[in-house]
Each structure stands twice: as C-alpha cells, then as structure tokens.
C-alpha cells in the first residue's frame, strides 16, 4: 500500500496517532478498500481505538501490492513508541512538512514514512513491523438503547473538571439529566478523595435518546486523546451505550474519516440496574487497567478469512460481516444473557481470576446484545479470545451452530 498525505492531512494523521498513543502500546496500520485504519488496543483489552481514513482523505491512495509481495497489503503491528515520535511535534509538522508518504510493502518487514519538508528536505523513516491481525472490537452500536450526541467541546469542557490523574468516571443518564462524576474504588482512600460531580441538562446535547437509565463507569484516560482530536476538528461526538457492564462507544465522523473509541465499563453488582446482566459472578469492581493476568491469544484465521476481514473495519454500523466458523462456536457459550440461572462455563472456569473475566468479557461482551435480533448480529466474529477458551474448542465443536 502506498498513500500520500498533503498539507493539513499530515497534522490530522499525527493527531490521530497521538490519540491512539493514549490507548495502547501497539498500533496497527490496517489498509483496506475502505481506506487506511489505525487501530490500537490497550493491554487490558478494555479500550480500543480506531481511526479510519477513507481514500478521499489522502492525496493518493493505492492498495496495490508492492513488487515481490503476494496478496493484499499486510496489517502492520507497530510499536506506538516508534511511530509517535515522528508526529510528536504537530506545530513543527504544520510549519515544515509539505507531504507525507507512507508505504507498506516495499520492503517486506518495514513501513516507510517519508516527510517531504520545506527547503527540499526529505526525511525517511523506516519502521519495522510485525505482521499480525489487528485486534478489532466489534460493537453493535445500532443496538444500543442509549445514544447521546454532543459537540466535542461540551465533553471536553466537562472532563476538564476532573484532574488529569483521574482514572475513571461515571456517566449517569436518565431522561431528565445527564451526570458525570469521578469514580473511586472503595477503601480507606475514599474518605480522603475529592469527589467531583456535574449535571447537564438534556438541552445541552444535540440529541439525547435514553432507552434505559444507566450508570456506566469507564476509563477517562484513554478517552482524553480522542476528545482532544474531536475538539480540534469541531466534530460532533456520538456516545452509544447501554447498562453498566456493556461497552460504551464514542465516535466521530466526517466526510473523510471516522474515529471510534470503545471502552469497557465496570460491572457494578451494587448498582440497581445490574439485574439486567447475568454477571453476578463477577466482582463488583475491577479496574480497567487491571487485567494484566489476562492472556489474549490472537486467533489466526486462515488466509482466506483474512481477506474477508480486511474488508470489514470497525466502527461498524451493523455492516454484514464474514466470520471464521470455529470462532462462531464460542459465542453462544459466552454470551447468554437469558440464562440467569447457570453461570457460563467461561465464567466458571475464569472465576479463579474473576478480574480477568470481567475485563475481557466486558469489551467483547459487546456481541452479547440481543442475540435474537436476526442471525446477522449473532455472527459477528471475535477476533481475539483468551487462551482459557482454547481448551473448550473440542467441546464446542460438538455443539451445533446456531
């Protein structure tokens, strides 16, 4: 893949890199027919960000494989700390860089990023990448009962009141008002912590659709970069969420790009609406950053499926998707919101590390929503599963597919 960014586009791209650097330590460059997607997932798999730049965003955009490469352009896994320094100083990029050329595939294991600057200077950076499938969070956003839309500025103004060190905040919504407050875990520290709270009137939002009153708690740190990006482009942010425990999705879009951040939310068994979830096994609190114990294996689908997947990028609006058959088997096992009586096998086994169950399932539990809503949504693929599940693969193969 070769693409060229001109002028202001370089700065926008750089800002996206900044925003994603707040999320994870690795970043994927994922080229496809829909454009170039930048993705990142945090270590705990509780936050996912994706910036999709459509081909129109670029001066030129070509997916053509470079000589010597077979098949499509690869998905490149890069270290954020290798990519971020190239775009660190946005003001100097704005002043000096006229064009930026990104090419994948000239050399088999390197991405080449060239900055064509003023005075005829060209800076060429070659970054080694690892070819691996990008982790993608799937989020059936069209199934979310609650949708808020507000200018990014409003949200930035709100989070300004929380100190930079604030890890998590709670968003509570009812028809009458929307509240934000900081979240702190229980314990002795709680007595000494400052509590900040604010309420917004529905009129302040561009649109407010509350299907179910809810209190969701999510990590603020990972969201800040995204909000800063949205604010600098004067975009409207859509927030889609449901009850506590289900992920929350923040998205912005304009003509040439789409950005999404999906964050896991805490399952609070103390909250009054927890009866909606069958996660009584999960502990009441689990820090978003807490899932170090959770190993995640990337399920390597075979190459034919890889081709399908590159066509489909996240921030899906329910677009039909292809799926590798073996993964699909996992879904009924994990996601059965109706079986309140029996904890899932997954939950059972993972109860030894309850935090990990909560964390990993929070994000990918996004798929759990209303399985009865047509066959399509129940087949959304999970591209990452935790190794605990692998033992079950044999059992699952005996289960008839839904």
């Amino acid at each position: 893949m070769i693409c060229v960014l001109e002028g202001n586009g370089v700065k926008v791209f750089g800002k996206a890199v900044h925003a994603l650097s707040r999320i994870g330590e690795t970043l994927w460059l994922d080229p496809g027919v829909k454009g170039l997607a930048l993705r990142s997932v945090n270590a705990a798999h509780s936050a996912y960000g994706c910036f999709l730049f459509s081909p129109l965003f670029f001066h030129t955009f070509s997916l053509a494989p470079a000589s010597g490469r077979r098949g499509e352009a690869p998905q490149c896994e890069l270290l954020t700390k290798s990519l971020l320094p190239l775009f660190r100083c946005l003001t100097s990029i704005e002043r000096n860089v006229e064009r930026c050329r990104i090419s994948i595939g000239d050399r088999s294991d390197q991405v080449e990023i060239q900055f064509f600057c003023r005075h005829g200077i060209t800076k060429t950076h070659s970054l080694r990448f690892q070819e691996s499938e990008a982790l993608q969070a799937v989020f059936a956003s069209h199934l979310c009962p609650n949708v808020l839309k507000a200018p990014a500025r409003l949200l930035s103004d709100m989070v300004l009141h929380f100190p930079v060190s604030q890890e998590e905040i709670t968003l509570s919504t009812t028809h009458l008002k929307v509240g934000l407050r900081n979240y702190s875990e229980g314990g002795n520290d709680r007595r000494k912590m400052m509590c900040t709270q604010m309420f917004l009137h529905p009129d302040e939002f561009d649109s407010l659709q509350i299907g179910v009153d809810s209190d969701i708690t999510f990590c603020l740190k990972e969201l800040r970069g995204f909000l800063s990006f949205a604010e600098s482009h004067f975009l409207q942010v859509s927030i889609r969420f449901g009850a506590a425990g289900k992920p929350v999705c923040f998205s912005v879009e304009d003509m040439v790009l789409e950005a999404t951040v999906v964050l896991a939310t805490l399952i609070d068994s103390d909250s009054w609406d927890s009866s909606q979830l069958n996660v009584a096994d999960a502990p009441p609190t689990a820090r978003c950053a807490d899932a170090a114990e959770l190993p995640v294996d990337l399920h390597n689908a075979d190459s034919s499926n890889a081709a399908d997947m590159t066509e489909w990028v996240a921030s899906s609006q329910g677009s039909p998707t292809m799926h590798p058959p073996s993964l699909m088997q996992l879904l009924p096992q994990i996601y059965e919101p109706d079986t309140l009586h029996a904890p899932d096998k997954a939950c059972d086994r993972a109860s030894a590390t309850p935090a990990s169950t909560t964390i990993c399932s929070l994000l990918f539990r996004a798929l759990s929503s209303e399985l009865d809503d047509g066959g399509c949504t129940s087949r959304l693929p999970v591209l990452a599963c935790y190794s605990d599940m692998e033992e079950d693969m044999e059992d699952l193969s005996k289960i008839p597919s839904p």
Binding site: R191, T196, M198, L200, D203
Partner: protein, 310 residues
Amino acid sequence: MGRILLRGGPNKLPPPDKTKERKHRMKFRAKIIDFACLSHFSRVITTISKLTKTCVLRLTPDNLFFVLCGKVANGGVSMWCELSQANFFDEYQMEGVSSEDNEICLEVTPDNLSRALKTVQNAKSVKVKLTKKHCPCLTIAAELPTLSSISRVVTHDVPVDVIPRRLWHEFKEPSMPDFDVSIYLPPLKTMKNVVDRMKNLSNFLVIEANLNGEMNLKIETDLVSVSTHFKDLGNPPWGDDASQLGRPSQSRDPEDMAEARVDIRKLQQFLMGQQVNPSKAMCNIIHQTVIHLILLHEDMSLQYFIPAVA
C-alpha cells in the same frame, strides 16, 4: 429519668456535653460572584498549596486563616496566612463551634481546593459550604455559564477534618518575634533565580542582613562558595515597635549582620509558591535562630517562619 431533670431536682447526671452538641451545628456558607475575587482567591489557595500539603483553615466571622504550625514533620517551618473575608466573598455566613468560640477549625489539603477552583474560573458564582457527605467536606459548587438557559452546576467535595477545640491553641497567630534585623526583600523573582542556582550546589544557605539595607545570600561547600549581594534594600521602620520589644534600633550597629543558616529547599519552596509580586515583602532575622518572611498583598498577608539549622 428525663422527668426528674425537668423538675429541677438534684441533678445526679453529668451535664450534657455542650461542645459536642454545638459541633454538629457548625455551619459555613460563602459565595463569590465577582470574577476578580474568584481569581484572587484561587491564587491565594494555589500559593498555599505550593507551600504545604496540609494545613489548618480557621474560619471566623471576619477572616480566614491558613495556618501551619511548625512541627518536626514539616521541618519546623510554620505559616500564617490571613485573609479578610469581605475582600473575596459576596455572602459569608458562619456559625462556629459555640457562641463563645465562634470559629471553625478544619484540616484541609489546599491542593484539592486549588484544583477545584482552577477549573471553575469562568463561573457565574461559586459557593463554598461546609457539608457532611461520607465525611465532613468543604463543598465547592460552581454555577457555570452555558449556551442554554440552564446553568451547569459542578460540585467538588473536598474532604476535611474537623479540629477539636482542645487543639485550637496550637494554631494561634504567631507573635512578632524579637528580631535582630528587619529588611525589605529584593524582588522575589530575582531572589528565586539566585536560590534556584544555589540549590544545585548546596543544601544549606545563609541569609544575612543588616540595618543598612544590605543582604547577602551565601552558600559554602568544600569546593566552592558563592555569595550574592543586595544593596539599598531598605529597612522597615518598625520604629516604636522595635523599642517596645526592648531592642531600640539605635543601639545596634547598622553594619552588623544578623544571619541564619537555613535549609535551601524550604526557602526555595517559599519562593516558588509566589505567583504575584506582593505590595511589601520583608524578612526578619533572629540571629542563628529563625527567619521570618512577611508578604503583604492587597487582600492577604502571609508570614512564613524557617528555622535556622546549625
């Protein structure tokens, strides 16, 4: 048993603990509506927050005091900051612990207050109230302007500890010490620059000054000694006060330097916290005992004591 009491018979029960009752009735509500007042108040709190992690806030009907008493834990420095409430608050009501002791004493973390105030600088109004949430709190409730007709309210609950009356004696206003020399300080920024550089070379600094308006800042190590000289600083005319202290200024040789060796970090911390130039800045030195820094602003006064080390 209650009936016996009402009849006024011999009262065998101990009298009810009046202090305990009254404590629950402690009230404090104040409101700032002026932008400049809010900005100044925030600035004062920020200055205090740079000087100490926790301190005592004394509230009286007319004043607010931020007090740090010199304990070993904070290296013996003590601080007394006085604000007149009328300079900041448009509304101010308080009910102290009792009618004889119409005062409220709280232990606060000024950094929390500073952070809470910093984000609401554009508020239409800011209320500060003593509340009881999960623990006693100073609640800062700001009404922020919005595009719609309805204001947005942001509240910050800052936990505080109530100081019992038996400990109040520790937080009294310091009396003016029996100083040897009193001198006006050079511009704080200049002083800070000098001290910053000296800090790289030594942990201790000697301040010396005389009644001739001369002050020196000196450091000395095995390898190097550095000295910065200030002249024509002027000496505050304590005048009658000086003679009341029993040390008539005439008897002291104006060239005679009084000095104190202090921990340089304490001095640096003091200088770092100052954000605006005060109207008056002075230093009293008690030879080899303590330096007493006094800053007078339009709306507040700040005294800071740094003990001398051997």
